[in-house]
C-alpha cells in the first residue's frame, strides 16, 4: 500500500450529536484507522443542524467535503471498507451537505461557521471570516460601533426583541469606572438549542461579539452566564477563551489596541428564572436569582451596581458579522420591524428537526412541513408551540403565521428565542396548559404573588377541570381571570407570559377542557 495523504474527518462533538453516539463513532474511527495504518486528522466540529442525520460525518476529499450519516459506531468498519475516506459510495452517503435541500436555501449568517470549522482552532475561525468584525471595530471610534449596531436593526434574540443598538447607546452614555458585558447563556426554553450549538460549534464568534461590545460601550470585563445543563458548551468555551487569550484577542492591550477586555464563564445552577436578565444579574453576583423591579435598567445599574450590557448568545454572536459586512447588509435581510436573520430551532415530534437560519418571514407551516417533513410519529400535527414554555400553542389553522415578531404578537403569540415544538394529535392540551402552570410554579422565584401563588392555584384549577370536578364553565372562566391577573400583575415574563400557552390552549382547543 502506498503512503497516504493525511485525510481530515469531521465527527461532530456537538452535544446533540454526542447524545446519538458521535463519541463512539470518533473512537471506533480512530481505532480502526490506527489498526489499518491510515493516518487521519480527526476534527470534532459543531453540528450542521440536521439532527436526524446525526452523527453526520464529513470527509475532506479532493472534490470537497463529503458527508455520511447517520453514522453508528458499528457502521465505521464498513464505511472504511467502502472507501469513504475517498468519498466513495455507501448506503449512508449524503454527498456535499451544503447542497442538501435542508441547507441549500438557508441563509446562514450568524450560524455560518457552525459545523464547518474546528471550534477549538482560532486560525480556522479567522480563515472563515472570524475577527474581521473586531478588526473593523478597532478602526472605529466607539460611538461608530454603537451606530452600526443601531443601523443594523438587530433586536435582542433572547426573547424580548428589544432594539439592541438602543441598549448599546444607553450603556455607552453612562459614566462609570467599571462597566460590564453580560452574556445570557441560560438557554432554558424547551425547544431551543441555538445558543448551545453556537457555543459548541463556533465559540469564537461569541467571544468576538462580546469583545466588540466591550470596546463599544467601554466595558473591560465580560461574563458568560452559562446554564449548568450545558457541560459540552462549558468545555468548548473554556478551550476557546484560553486560545483567544494566548493569541492576544482577549486580555490587556488586546491586538495592540491599548484596550482591555476579558471574559469569565459563570455557571448557573438549574434555575429557569435566571434567564430573566435581572435574575441572571443577581445570580452572577452569587445571590438567589430573584427578579427585581426595573428601572433602574441593567444598562444603567446592572452587575455589581454598574452599567451592564446584557444580551443573549445569538445576539452577541451576530455582532461580528454586522461589523464585518456593515449595518446595511444585515438590515437588508428580513422585513418590517424584524430585520436580519432568525435562528429557528425545530424540535419535538418532528421527522427532521434541527437548526434553520433564514431572513425573517418563513411561516410555521413552511418550517414544520417543508423543513420538518411533518411529525416523527407520522400522525397529523395538532399543535405547534412557538417560543418556549411561555409561548403560545398554534393550531393547524394558524400555521401560516410568519415567524416574526409583529405577526406573532398580533396572534397573541410570541417568537421568544425562536424554538418551535411540534405535537401530534395525541396531545392533550388541557394537560399542556396544566404543565405550563406547573412549570411556572416550579420555577417561580417567589418574589411576586401573581406568579408564585397564581401558578399554584392555576395547577389546582386545571386539576379540577381535567377531573371534571365542579362547574366546568365556571372553572374555565376562573382560569381566564387568573390568567389576567398573572399577565398584568407579575413582575417579569415568567408569570406575565405563562398565560400565553394556557390561553392559547383554551382558545384553540376548547374541547380538551370539557
Amino acid at each position: 500500500m502506498s503512503a497516504r495523504a493525511l485525510v481530515t474527518v469531521f465527527v461532530p462533538g456537538d452535544a446533540g450529536a454526542v447524545s446519538l453516539g458521535a463519541n463512539a463513532v470518533a473512537d471506533v474511527l480512530a481505532r480502526e484507522c490506527r489498526r489499518r495504518e491510515i493516518p487521519i486528522r480527526l476534527v470534532r466540529n459543531g453540528s450542521r443542524g440536521l439532527y436526524w442525520l446525526e452523527p453526520l460525518v464529513e470527509v475532506v476529499t479532493a472534490a470537497g467535503r463529503v458527508a455520511y450519516g447517520p453514522v453508528r459506531a458499528s457502521d465505521v468498519p464498513a464505511l472504511l471498507d467502502a472507501g469513504f475516506l475517498e468519498g466513495r459510495p455507501h448506503a449512508l452517503l449524503l454527498g456535499d451537505i451544503e447542497n442538501h435541500e435542508w441547507l441549500r436555501n438557508q441563509q446562514r449568517v450568524t450560524a455560518a461557521r457552525i459545523g464547518v470549522v474546528d471550534p477549538s482552532d482560532i486560525d480556522d475561525y479567522i480563515a472563515h471570516g472570524g475577527y474581521a468584525g473586531l478588526q473593523a471595530a478597532l478602526a472605529m471610534p466607539p460611538i461608530e460601533i454603537v451606530r452600526t449596531v443601531i443601523g443594523s436593526g438587530l433586536r435582542g434574540r433572547g426573547g424580548a426583541a428589544f432594539p439592541s443598538g438602543t441598549k448599546w447607546q444607553t450603556v455607552f452614555e453612562q459614566v462609570a469606572a467599571q462597566k460590564y458585558v453580560a452574556c445570557n447563556a441560560d438557554e432554558g426554553d424547551s425547544g431551543t438549542f441555538a445558543d448551545r450549538m453556537l457555543m459548541e460549534g463556533d465559540p469564537f464568534a461569541l467571544i468576538e461579539g462580546m469583545t466588540i461590545a466591550g470596546l463599544a460601550v467601554g466595558a473591560t470585563q465580560g461574563y458568560i452566564y452559562l446554564r449548568v445543563e450545558y457541560p459540552h458548551a462549558a468545555r468548548a468555551l473554556a478551550r476557546a477563551l484560553h486560545v483567544a487569550r494566548e493569541r492576544g484577542y482577549l486580555g490587556k492591550n488586546l491586538r495592540d489596541s491599548g484596550r482591555d477586555f476579558d471574559i469569565a464563564v459563570r455557571l448557573g445552577a438549574g434555575a429557569y428564572i435566571c434567564g430573566e436578565e435581572t435574575s441572571m444579574l443577581e445570580s452572577l453576583q452569587g445571590r438567589r436569582g430573584e427578579v427585581r423591579v426595573r428601572p433602574p435598567l441593567p444598562a444603567v445599574k446592572g452587575l455589581f451596581g454598574e452599567p451592564t450590557l446584557v444580551h443573549n448568545v445569538v445576539t452577541l454572536a451576530t455582532i461580528p458579522v454586522i461589523l464585518a459586512r456593515g449595518a446595511t447588509a444585515y438590515r437588508e435581510l428580513g422585513a418590517g420591524q424584524s430585520r436580519g436573520t432568525v435562528l429557528l430551532q425545530l424540535g419535538g415530534n418532528v421527522k427532521q428537526g434541527g437548526l434553520v437560519e433564514l431572513a425573517f418571514g418563513l411561516t410555521v407551516r413552511q418550517l414544520v412541513y417543508g423543513y420538518g417533513g411533518g411529525t416523527a410519529s407520522g400522525r397529523p400535527v395538532r399543535a405547534v408551540q412557538v417560543g418556549g414554555p411561555l409561548g403560545a400553542y398554534l393550531p393547524e389553522s394558524e400555521l401560516d403565521t410568519p415567524l416574526e415578531y409583529e405577526a406573532l404578537s398580533a396572534r397573541s403569540a410570541l417568537l421568544g428565542h425562536a424554538g418551535v415544538v411540534v405535537f401530534d394529535d395525541t396531545v392533550d392540551m388541557a394537560r399542556m396548559a396544566r404543565f405550563a402552570l406547573e412549570f411556572c410554579a416550579i420555577e417561580s422565584c417567589g418574589k411576586c404573588a401573581p406568579c408564585r401563588i397564581g401558578s399554584a392555584r392555576g395547577v389546582e384549577l386545571l386539576d379540577r377541570i381535567i377531573a371534571k370536578q365542579g362547574n366546568g364553565d365556571a372553572n374555565v372562566a376562573l382560569l381566564a381571570e387568573l390568567c389576567d391577573t398573572m399577565q398584568n400583575g407579575s413582575l417579569c415574563g415568567l408569570g406575565g407570559l405563562t398565560p400565553f400557552p394556557v390561553r392559547s390552549a383554551l382558545k384553540h382547543f376548547p374541547e380538551d377542557f370539557r
Partner: protein, 159 residues
Amino acid sequence: MSLAPAAIERSVNNAVARTRGEPGPLLEILHAVQNDLGCIPPESVALIAAALNLSRAEVHGVVSFYHHFRDHPAGEHTIQLCRAEACQSMQGDALADFAKRRLQLGFGETRKDGKVTLEAVYCLGNCACAPSAMIDGQLRGRVDAQALAECADAWGVPS
C-alpha cells in the same frame, strides 16, 4: 453516608481560597463544594457563611433556591430525565412512568440501596433528538424504555 467534618472544612477552605478576590463568589464556591463532595452538606453552610461574611440564612437561601444544589449525595448513578415540552411531545410521559416503575422511584428520590437517583430536568437543549436524558453526566438523545432498562439492568437494579 455522612461526611467527615475535616473533609467538609477542607473542601470549603479550598473553594474559598480559589475564588478569593472574585466578586460575588458564593455560587462558584457552592459548585466547587458540590463537585468535590457530591452535595452541599448542611454543616458546610455555617463555614461558607463565615468565610464570606454572610449570614447562614443567606447561604441557605441561595443553596435552596437552585435546583442543582443538593444537601445529600446522589446515588451511585443518576438519571436526569427531561420533562419539558419537546420531550413530552415524544411520549415523554410514558417514558417517565416507565422510569419511575423500573427504578421504583419518584422524581427527586434516591433508591434506599443507594444505586440510583432519578431527577426531572427541564430542557437539556437537545429538543430535535427528544426525548433526552442526562445519564451519569452523559447526554442521551432519543431515549426509550429499552435504553433506561439496559441502564437499570447494568447497574443491578432489581426489577
